[in-house]
Symmetry: C2
């Protein structure tokens, strides 16, 4: 159950999908030498392999525990967290003005994929800290920023996001937690929050909670929600820690997977909080960082899939069973066509989803760098468009590849000690949290495609067409070019359908549309990387081209099969009488 | 977490896919009145709902335990098993000459789907007993039959199948367990067997093990394996129980799911066994019943999927979250298009797989009844052809539907208390045991399609064409007819490709071919049921037609997308250098 980052693949996609060279050439990232990039990737690889991977199984078996109001992290997690902070990983992509390294997000994505592969349950703690930190940085007063951010960037204090309540999940508009003014500028926060990832634990001295709650006269619904900073322990003006705030974890969920990550029921009992951003604008402030968190969940899908792939590959190389067709000699099972086929399925789909993740982060990075307003707007739109695809497509592939990895293990895959089952369990959360994949599809179709009348999507399609054109003339790429031409035509037709449809019809086809986008865009990005790799004489362009051909053979053909549902809209879904769904 | 069998759906498919009427008209089943069929289904429904479903969660949470060489079943299982025997379920489809009811297997399939839905872990015990019983009935001496079968048919003694060893899983040819003649006609059996489902437990007084082992001078490989009957407790000539045999469970596996089913490591330490069937023909004897067991695993897939569907439907009806598009009123989540879409996905794929299960059993039933040699041969071939499809397609659908069911629960799905996670875990074994789905695909392509030069498959395709013809003229069925015509054309092309291919190429496309068969055959069978249902004025033909249309919209289109891989064969799978699979 070792882990080794696929460093060549990651480096290749950083170069030929994310175009690190252009980023490095920009003044913002002028210090980001090839050597530094290499050092960061090597450092992350070593940390993931040597520190995080070895405690992944213990985290699953023992989980975190809650006793006497205190959550104790799984065995080894506290020590690993200390090492994580000391190595400075938390501040990797945090802005330089708050003490971060200010590196491009795409590099952070690459690093975090490794950490999540090694230990997804662990990786959620830094992710929550980063999200909270970014929200505070973007929306809080200078006083709050000065008091909290430095320690958060260092990882000394972690962050917590308190959104969900039992009756308020996907629909936060109905949340009930209360924020009553104390008269001194602070608020008394009361209410119960559930599903709070790393909501309490003993790896840090303080936890900075962001909490959504309603002020007394707030309007009902999502326009009456405000965001508050609520520290676990009060921080004195000199930065030292004071007494405890009135909040605690009152329960830990008994989950299918990611047992090493404590999922807390948090009770706020008149806890003192400070407003972050304008009153009643809490949801908007929260959504600023939700997009980033969503991309990171797509990365988790690829990460778990990659780990499952490595486990399956090792097992397939080690397990001797049966005989090869040609010589009838005994063979490790990798010698059987169907095992090799499953490995190719996993590898290809993971590379496609990884390319989408990198392209999403890259768009955000360029938007941050550029001084051209139109370009910034276009790249922001691209980032926004790709985010739900990265989240849903990546997390779905995490589940399917973890399942395939388990299958390669045969009967041993069903035995927990092998580790394949843990990946199958861990991976299953990613299509759910940070907005279910159904919510992502609604986001894609509603906010990202229909709201701008398809402008961002049409720009993406135009880019895909440019990529295809750049490959014309290389006859070795004919199969892919033909497949992509078909795929792009399907995507155009589907986009026109979505744009012209009634809302209900568009939503009925939303998931199929998102999957179609994933199939086609991943092929386009991999083709871009192959064309670029060939031009640059990159030694890995050859193997990437083999994966791309396999994509064109097995994944791209699915695109067209998704079209009928998109075109048909809501009618076929609602035809079956709802009161007969129980039987026939 | 209640369960209610989809009785109308099952009854409908029994009538219009399995053609129960024809079976009932046959002398073999002349006592099988409509009333009796109804009573059996109602009885099974009540037993599943009232006895088995309520202990399913406790079985998952507590599992079976091993202490002091004794396996104790999960809480409530012993009492439920007693009730199972008293109700006479074990002998349902067992031959009348050994005390069974001799009912058609398709009825047994219908009953067992309900039992598996309610409690899959429990259902494995009767399944193992039935398989062992059938093997003994088919191959053992009269003496052994007289001694053991009556108690097994009654369920008083259960059966165990001891095949797998640590080094011998899919390839049983390399197994090492030894059988040394004792000189008195019996053998001393020694060796370790793993993954022995219900290998030991306290629900019965005796367990009749069938064990594969090698006699001293047996040829190496699969031609040197013999089958032995090895009772846990010796049986005296008067039928009373004697002393214990030299075998015991020395370990229980820690599994991902089906915790209520003890998966034992069995140690045979010179245990006394009796030869079943000819020496060195053990594998062939074992495979007689393996086909039946495989069909039952396909049924398990549908069963778990059905339970997951019911849980998801209940949750979708109860959980209020968000607002409907039209009125902006608060709504249970079933009011959201994507939730309804997921329910339709589940329902439709389950109905398709169920139809394949019923058709498979039905072919076997007709083969048993008919006095026409050619017909018997043809129906046996049909049963053999459909069995790997039923097993693999049904078990894969079990996993995907359980996953979708969990997704519908959102965050609650990831919490074990909801029960959705148990289905996701339980379902995952079905694609693995009784021959992995990769092995099923090899069986389909090798033994079932290529060995008879495609004869059985061509007969199936001809039947599908007849079904399509019977629907011509009903314009309401146009969409399905068009989709099926395309699907059949694809299936023909794929079959020709498989028949003409080199073995390695055929095996590389085997899984895609099996999935393609599942997509097309399920549509064909559902169309048959709709045409038949309309003709018979069956009230449920209307809703079944809605599911069929949804199948044509979402499942049938996938068929064509599987063709490129079948045509491409092994090359794309082997192109990627095996020593570079680790990275790029």
């Amino acid at each position: 159950m070792t882990y080794n980052a696929p460093k060549n693949a990651i480096q290749y996609l950083l170069t030929h999908v994310a175009d690190m060279k252009t980023l490095q050439a920009h003044p913002t990232h002028q210090d980001l030498s090839d050597e530094l990039v290499g050092d960061i990737l090597n450092g992350a690889l070593a940390f993931a392999k040597d520190v995080l991977a070895p405690i992944n199984r213990a985290g699953d078996e023992n989980g975190a525990t809650l006793k006497d109001d205190v959550v104790t992290a799984a065995p080894g997690f506290k020590e690993a967290y200390k090492a994580y902070c000391e190595s400075g990983w938390q501040g990797l992509s945090a802005p330089t003005e708050i003490g971060g390294m200010g590196l491009p997000q795409v590099l952070s994505i690459a690093v975090n994929e490794m950490l999540y592969s090694a230990n997804m349950a662990f990786g959620l703690c830094p992710m929550l800290t980063a999200s909270s930190m970014n929200a505070i940085h973007a929306h809080a007063s200078d006083e709050l920023k000065n008091k909290y951010l430095e320690k958060m960037v260092a990882g000394e204090w972690s962050g917590g996001m308190n959104l969900t309540e039992p009756q308020a999940g996907s629909d936060l508009g109905v949340l009930r937690a209360k924020a009553t003014p104390n008269g001194d500028g602070t608020y008394a926060i009361s209410g119960q929050k559930i599903f709070i990832t790393w909501g309490d634990h003993d790896c840090v001295e303080n936890i900075i909670h962001l909490v959504l709650a309603r002020t007394p006269d707030a309007p009902s619904g999502s326009r009456g929600i405000s965001l508050f900073l609520v520290p676990k322990i009060f921080v004195n003006d000199d930065g030292s820690l004071g007494k405890a705030n009135s909040l605690k974890a009152i329960g830990l969920e008994h989950k299918l997977g990611i047992h090493g990550s404590p999922t807390c029921v948090m009770e706020f009992d008149g806890a003192t909080g400070w407003l972050v951003g304008p009153e009643n604008r809490g949801l908007a402030c929260m959504f600023t960082m939700m997009n980033e968190a969503r991309l990171f969940v797509g990365v988790q899908g690829v990460a778990i899939g990659e780990r499952a792939y490595q486990g399956a590959l090792n097992y397939a190389n080690d397990r001797v069973q049966g005989r090869v067709i040609d010589t009838r000699a005994q063979t490790p099972i990798i010698g059987h066509p169907d095992i090799r086929r499953m490995l190719m399925d996993m590898k290809t789909s993971l590379m496609g989803a990884r390319a989408i993740n990198f392209a999403t982060a890259n768009a955000g990075d360029i938007a941050k760098c550029t001084s051209d307003d139109d370009a910034r707007k276009a790249f922001h739109a691209r980032e926004a468009l790709l985010t739900p695809i990265a989240k849903a497509y990546g997390s779905d592939i995490g589940v399917t590849t973890a399942s395939t990895g388990l299958q390669i293990h045969g009967g041993m895959g069903f035995i927990e000690e092998t580790g394949a089952a843990q990946h199958y369990r861990d991976a299953r959360i990613a299509p759910i949290y940070e907005g279910t994949n159904g919510i992502q599809a609604i986001d894609l179709v509603g906010r990202k495609v229909r709201r701008d009348n398809g402008e961002a999507m049409k720009a993406l399609i135009a880019d895909l067409e440019t990529i295809v054109k750049s490959a014309n003339g290389n006859t070795e790429l004919d199969m892919v070019v033909n497949g992509l031409n078909t795929g792009i035509a399907v995507l155009k037709q589907a986009t026109d359908t979505i744009l012209a449809a009634e809302e209900k019809d568009a939503l009925a086809g939303a998931c199929a549309y998102l999957d179609l986008c994933g199939d086609v865009v991943s092929a386009g990005l991999l083709l871009k990387s192959v064309v670029g790799g060939i031009e640059a004489d990159d030694a890995y362009a050859k193997t990437m081209k083999i994966l791309l051909d396999y994509h064109a053979l097995t994944i791209l053909p699915r695109a067209a099969s998704r079209l009928p549902q998109i075109i048909a809209g809501a009618t076929p879904i609602y035809d079956f009488p709802v009161n007969q769904l129980e039987d026939l």
